[in-house]
Amino acid sequence: MSRAEPDRERLLPATLTHGGATRWISGLITDKPAPLSWFVIFAVCSVLLVVFLVSLTYLFSVGVGIFGINIPVAWGLPITNTIWWIGIAHAGTLISAVLLLTRQDWRASINRFAEAMAMFAIVCAGLYPLIHLGRPSFWYYLLPYPNTMGLWPQWRSPLVWDFFAITMYLLFTMSFMYLSLLPDLATLRDRAKSRLGQVSYGLLALAWRGDAAHWARYQRATLILAGCAAPIVCVVTGIVSTDLAVSIVPGYHFTIFPPYFVAGALFSGFATVALLAVVLRWMFSLQAIVTRIHLDYIGRMMLVFAMIVDYAYTQEMFTAWYSGEDHYRYVYIDRIWEGAYAPVWWTMIALNVGVAQLLWFKGIRRNPVALLLIAIAVDIGMWLERFQIVFTSTHADYMPSNWDVVWPTAWDWAVYAGSLGLFGFLLMVFLRVMPMVSLHDMRELIARKGAGSGHG
C-alpha cells in the first residue's frame, strides 16, 4: 500500500458525486441500522455512565474525602482529569479551525467527528471542577455578580479565570459545532423519513435553504470563528495551566507551562482524533474518505506536538537546574529517581518520548492498527504527565515535615472510568443522529477533486 504513487493516492474516490456522498453519509443514519460494534460500544459506555452516576451520587452525599487526596497533596485525580479532558478537546478545535484557515483538504472528512470529540470532551472537562469541590452546591459563588454577603468572585485567582475560559470554550465549541452542522441539518431534514425526524431536523436547521447570499454570510461567520479558534486554544489551556503556574509550589511555578500545556493538549488531542479516525473508519467502512493519507497527516501532527512536548521536558529540567533554587532542583531529583512516583515519570517518558518517535516512519503512520496503538499509548502517556505534575509537585515541596505519598482510590478510578463512559455515550448517540462526516465540506472537496465538479 505504501507502494502506491503519491499523485494517484486520493483523499476521496474519484467517482464520488455530491449525491453519492449525501446518500452514503446520511444513509448511515437514515437508511441503515447501526453496526454491531456500535451496539457493543454503546452498551459498555452505558454501563460506565451508570457507574459515573452512582459514584457522583456517593461523592456528593459523603464528601470529597473518598478520593486519594490529603494535605499536602490536596489536588489529585479530579484536577489531573480536568486538564487531560480539556487537552483532548483542543485538537478538535484546531482541526475545525486552523486547518480551515490553512486550506487543508484533508480536514473535510475528519472535522465533524473531531468537533464532536471536542464538544463531549469539554463536557467532561467542565464536570470535573465541580467533582473536585468540597461544597459543590455553592459553585454559583463563581458567577460574576455580587452574591452572598455582596461578595464578587476574587479576580486574582486562576480558578476564576478558568471559569470564564472554560465557559467561553464550551460556548465557542457549541457555536462552531452548530454552525458546521447547519447545512447538514437541512440535508437530513430533506431526507428524513419519519415525521419526527423532519420536524426535529427542520427546527434545528433554521429553515436553511442554501441561498448563495446566506452561504456568503455563513462563510464569513465560519472564517471569524476559525480565526478566533487558534487564540482560543492558546487562551483556554494557557489559563488552565496558570492554575499551576501562578502557584508558588516548586513543580508548578514555571512560566513554560502555558505553551507547554497547549502543545501537550494538542499532542493528546490529535492522538484521540487518530484513535477515533481509525475506529470510526473501521466501524462504518469510511476507508474511502478517511484514508491512509488522513492517518498519515494526523500522525504528522501528533509528531509535531510530540517534539514540542519533548523539548519542553528538557527545558523544564534545565530551568530548574539553572535557577539554582534547591527546592526546584529537588523536584526533578524526586520525580526522576528518589520519589515514590518515579515509575510514573519513567513510563511517561517511555510513552511520550519513546513510543512517539515511531511516528517518524511513514509506514507506521499509515498503518491503522499501529497508529491506534500509538494513539492509545500517547493518551495514556499524556495522562501520566498530568498525573505526575499534579501529584509529585506538592507531595514533596518546601517543608519535609509535610511530605507524603498518596495514590488514587477506587472512587477516583470509578469516576474517571465513568467520565470515559459519558464521553463515549455522547459520541455514540451523536453518531446515530448527526452526519459523522461534514457533508458540505465534502461537497466542496468533491467540487475541487471528485466527480461532482462538472468537468465532464
Partner: protein, 226 residues
C-alpha cells in the same frame, strides 16, 4: 475528631503541629523541634488564589478564614508553603460521623465547620475579639489599644515555658515587638517573601564539650509570635 484511619491517610486536623528534625547517630539522635501554625503572612500566597475570597487579610494583620464562603477548592492549601491549612474531607462534625465530638464538648466561641471547608489557626480570633469587645464596653480611655498581655492565645497559655509571645507589633513597647527586634529573630521560609507574622527566635547553645557527651540531646530553637 477524625479518627485513626483518617489521620493515617493524611486527613489530620491539627491547627498547630510540632515539626521534629533529628540529627546525629540513629542510636542516640538529637532532636530539634519547631511548632508550626498558620503564619498569617502579609503576602499570604493562600489569599490571592481563593476564587471565592474566602480567605482575606484583616486590617489588624490576621489571615482570616471565612468558613461560610469556602467552597472547598483547596487551592489555598496547595499554595501554602508551610502546609498549615486543614480541610474537612468529610462532615466530621455531623452527629452521625464515626468520631463526631458530642456538641457539649465543642468550644462555644469557635464556629463549627461543615464538610468541604478549609480551616486553620486563627490566632485565637475568638479570644482577640472577646478582649476587644470587653475593652470597648468599659469607659476607660484606652485610645483603641489593648494592654500588652491582655490577649493570650491558647497555645501561649498552654506553653509551660512561656516560649510563645503574642501581642501588637504596631506598638514598639510590647514584649512581642522587643522580641522581634532581636537579631536572632528569623522567618520560616522567609526568602519566599511571604512576610509571615509569626517569626522564630533562634536559640544559641554553646555546650562546653567537657561536660556531658557530644551526643547529648539539646534543644536549639524557641519561637516568638506577634
Amino acid at each position: 475528631m477524625v479518627g485513626k484511619s483518617e489521620v493515617l491517610r493524611g486527613h489530620d486536623m491539627h491547627w498547630i503541629r510540632i515539626d521534629r528534625y533529628f540529627e546525629g547517630q540513629p542510636e542516640a539522635p538529637s532532636m530539634i523541634f519547631q511548632p508550626v501554625t498558620c503564619m498569617h503572612c502579609e503576602n499570604a500566597p493562600c489569599e490571592y488564589v481563593c476564587p471565592f475570597a474566602a480567605t482575606q487579610h484583616s486590617a489588624e494583620g490576621l489571615n482570616e478564614m471565612i468558613y461560610n464562603r469556602c467552597v472547598g477548592t483547596r487551592y489555598c492549601s496547595q499554595n501554602c508553603p508551610y502546609k498549615v491549612r486543614r480541610f474537612n474531607w468529610f462532615t466530621y462534625t455531623d452527629k452521625d460521623a464515626p468520631h463526631s465530638t458530642p456538641p457539649p464538648a465543642h468550644n462555644p466561641d469557635v464556629t463549627v465547620r461543615s464538610g468541604g471547608v478549609m480551616e486553620k489557626c486563627t490566632y485565637c480570633v475568638q479570644r482577640i475579639n472577646a478582649v476587644k469587645i470587653a475593652a470597648a464596653r468599659t469607659d476607660e480611655p484606652n485610645n483603641g489599644r489593648i494592654a500588652d498581655g491582655a490577649i493570650v492565645t491558647a497555645c501561649q497559655q498552654a506553653c509551660p515555658t512561656d516560649a510563645i509571645v503574642f501581642g501588637d507589633v504596631a506598638d514598639e513597647t510590647t514584649r512581642v515587638s522587643r522580641e522581634k527586634a532581636s537579631p536572632l529573630d528569623y522567618d520560616l521560609l522567609g526568602d519566599l517573601n511571604t512576610r509571615p507574622r509569626t517569626s522564630y527566635k533562634a536559640a544559641v547553645r554553646n555546650p562546653n564539650p567537657a561536660i556531658g557527651s557530644p551526643d547529648a540531646p539539646y534543644v536549639e530553637k524557641g519561637r516568638v509570635k506577634g
